[in-house]
């Protein structure tokens, strides 16, 4: 957990560096412009779910330390994204911070809730978060394809989709982010016998 911010920073620098290579970024539509900033922010949202390692201890103290770690990971990721400020005009790296903070806090809270419940729940939390990020756009596409119906109202649920549509904002992520942390802190401490087991 203590090295999560380093892992996040290295991962984001690697993504930005690889995408800026002409032969690799160009086929994906990523150039040395605003698209590079967007690609890095998408990678940051993936980091939220995949790279944050919580402290797996079933105490409130551990939950608080996880909150501090999430904050540090967000700060490191933000520094990586803001370092790409020179690539393009406009304030996309700065404007995305509110939504990114909401995404980090929410995903960190859910994973910490899983850590508070027990080791296996961490992986289950990650899977649930991946589904939350990826399934709404997939469902929208399938609904359009087979039922000619739109599920655009699900867009705020998926931060990645909201970012792609230019609608990533701190609302409703920040209010949602408070719920898992409230649950983490509200869970009673396990009884001594359970801890021993």
């Amino acid at each position: 957990m203590t090295h999560s911010p380093l892992v996040v920073a290295v991962f984001l620098f690697a993504v930005a560096g690889i995408c800026s290579l002409a032969g690799i970024g160009e086929p994906m539509g990523v150039g040395n412009d605003r698209t590079l900033q967007l690609a890095t922010i998408h990678a940051e949202l993936a980091c939220c779910v995949l790279l944050f390692l919580p402290l797996c201890a079933r105490t409130r103290g551990a939950a608080l330390r996880n909150l501090l770690a999430v904050t540090a990971c967000f700060a490191a990721a933000s520094a990586c994204v803001l370092l790409l400020h020179f690539v393009a005009r406009g304030g996309l790296p700065w404007q995305s911070r509110g939504g990114a903070l909401g995404a980090w806090l929410f995903t960190g809270g859910v994973i910490s809730l899983g850590a508070r419940l027990g080791g296996a729940w961490v992986m289950r939390a990650r899977v649930a978060l991946l589904c939350m990020f990826a399934l709404p756009p997939l469902a929208h596409y399938l609904a359009l394809e087979y039922a000619s119906a739109s599920l655009l109202h699900l867009r705020p649920v998926s931060p990645s989709w909201a970012l792609a549509a230019g609608a990533l904002s701190w609302w409703p992520l920040l209010p949602m982010a408070l719920l898992p942390w409230a649950a983490v802190l509200a869970l009673p401490a396990p009884k001594q016998a359970e801890v021993a087991l």
Partner: protein
């Protein structure tokens, strides 16, 4: 008094006062001074009469995506008037003191015509000048002004092919005359001075006219001094008066300039400042990829070091587990804040220019017609302050793909000409002009691909019978002073064409 009644009175006062305030422009007295003549696509002098609401009023002339702006000194509450260049176009709007007005266009549209020069005539008494130099349909179109009205800004002469100034008594002209004539001639116009002026004002930085050559028009001697692509003709007033046919003499001088010294008119349309109907096939380029600077690498290294070192130190220090993450977060936040100090790429403006010159000598006056295509984040409207010393004139323009940009006329320019290729009789260096244009794309004649686009477009417009020119690729750039509104924009000159119109050897008439 009831509060509601007071409110009603207040509303009534606002409602009744608003139309009075809105009708600041006197639409009956405001008019084009050149009426009934006007050349569409160019500017003509316009007298604007308005009621001022402050000590200075900002006047805006808006035409498509260009705007001319000037601050006019006035007296609040009193009627003021000013003369400013206004485009002769149907979509023009003039704004001042909260009012706006679409000027009534002149009825007679003066299209560029080799057989009918369009001139502004200045004399001590305009009534005196009319019989000497009358407007004759199909031969000469004249607008008459008094010498004291002489404009100090070439943009008020934009539509004219030439100026005729009668000054038999060596008068002192109004301030700004010298510069206005120099700028007008550098843009290709002809100034005919009958008599002389006592040029008392010292104007810095104006190139002197070329050596005078002696010509004769209907038995009357005239001195012709080239000035950029234009010329200054000087005719003795008494000699003109004794000639018995001053009209033929003066028209002969104008045609001598427009026909490049030939005895018959060239084919096609004359070169003028009217925007060309043929679209220029240029496209905006992509900006260069921004490169990370030393600040980026420094901050990135600092971030990685911070993320790696802080946890290691925290393990060996008391309560390290508590403070390490907040410290790391604070350090990363500081690095992120410093990252915002990195310079961002500036918006990009692509320029192409045709530079009209007198000769290959870069010290001689020249002018440029620049075509500007803005990139992203550049303001859609180009505003030019008429008080700016550069005296540029923008016009709305679109490239062949319909992308909106600006066409800018810049007087008194300099450039770096390359060795010219010679156009004569429809051939350039002995090759049919279309074939030469195709070869220019491959580097023939020292042209590159972008200059070759300009060359191809210019040849299509001008490679007619009677036209002889030296053509070359030019080094030229748009100076920041020429367009202060574009100061924060990166200007990239993609291509420039140098054009020197050749005259026939003068023939005694």
């Amino acid at each position: 008094m009831q509060p509601l009644s007071a409110l009603s009175l207040l509303l009534l006062a606002v409602v009744t006062a608003a139309p009075l305030h809105a009708q600041a422009i006197d639409k009956d007295r405001s008019r084009f001074l050149s009426e009934p003549h006007g050349r569409p696509g160019t500017c003509a002098p316009y007298r604007l009469v308005f009621k001022a609401t402050a000590e200075t009023e900002r006047v805006e002339v808006i035409h498509g995506n260009v705007k001319l702006v000037v601050q006019v000194a006035a007296k609040a509450g009193e009627t003021s008037e000013t003369i400013l260049p206004v485009y002769v176009a149907p979509d023009v709007v003039i704004r001042v003191a909260g009012d706006e007005h679409t000027p009534r266009l002149p009825l007679r549209r003066m299209e560029p015509d080799y057989e009918q020069p369009y001139v502004a005539v200045f004399a001590a008494d305009a009534m005196y000048a009319r019989p000497i130099l009358p407007s004759v349909p199909g031969q000469l179109a004249c607008d008459y002004y008094e010498n004291r009205e002489f404009f100090s800004d070439w943009r008020l002469f934009d539509g004219y092919d030439g100026l005729v100034l009668f000054s038999p008594e060596a008068q002192r002209p109004p301030a700004g005359t010298q510069r206005a004539i120099a700028e007008f001639c550098s843009l290709g116009g002809a100034a005919i001075i009958v008599g002389s002026f006592r040029m008392g004002e010292k104007v810095e930085g104006l190139p002197a006219p070329a050596e005078a050559e002696l010509l004769k028009f209907h038995g009357v001697s005239a001195q012709r001094m080239a000035y950029g692509p234009g010329a200054i003709y000087r005719i003795d007033f008494e000699e003109l008066r004794r000639s018995g046919n001053p009209y033929a003499v003066l028209r002969g001088a104008l045609l001598d300039h427009m026909w490049f010294g030939d005895t018959r008119a060239p084919a096609g349309k004359p070169q003028s400042r009217v925007p060309s109907p043929a679209a220029l096939n240029v496209v905006a380029g992509t900006p260069e990829a921004p490169q990370p600077g030393a600040l980026f690498f420094g901050l990135a290294g600092a971030l990685l070091a911070l993320c790696g070192v802080v946890p290691l130190v925290a393990r060996r220090v008391k309560f390290g587990a508590l403070w390490s993450m907040p410290a790391l977060a604070a350090g990363a936040a500081a690095i992120g804040a410093l990252a915002l100090l990195q310079p961002q790429p500036r918006p990009l403006l692509d320029c192409w220019a045709v530079v009209y010159a007198e000769s290959q000598d870069r010290q001689r006056p020249a002018s440029a017609r620049a075509f500007l295509l803005p990139g992203q984040d550049v303001d859609e409207t180009l505003a030019v302050d008429l008080a700016n010393a550069a005296r540029v004139l923008p016009r709305p323009w679109r490239n062949a793909q319909g992308r909106a940009g600006w066409q800018l006329d810049l007087p008194l320019q300099t450039g770096e000409p390359a060795a010219p290729a010679e156009l004569a009789f429809g051939e350039v260096n002995g090759t049919r002009f279309r074939d030469f244009a195709a070869m220019a794309y491959k580097g023939e004649g020292g042209f590159d691909a972008e200059s070759a686009r300009l060359l191809e477009w210019w040849l299509d417009e001008n490679a007619y019978r009677g036209r002889r020119s030296g053509l070359g690729a030019a080094g030229w750039r748009l100076e920041a002073e020429s367009a202060p509104a574009l100061e924060s924009v990166e200007k990239r000159t993609r291509g420039a064409l140098w054009v020197v119109n050749r005259r026939l050897v003068p023939d005694p008439r």
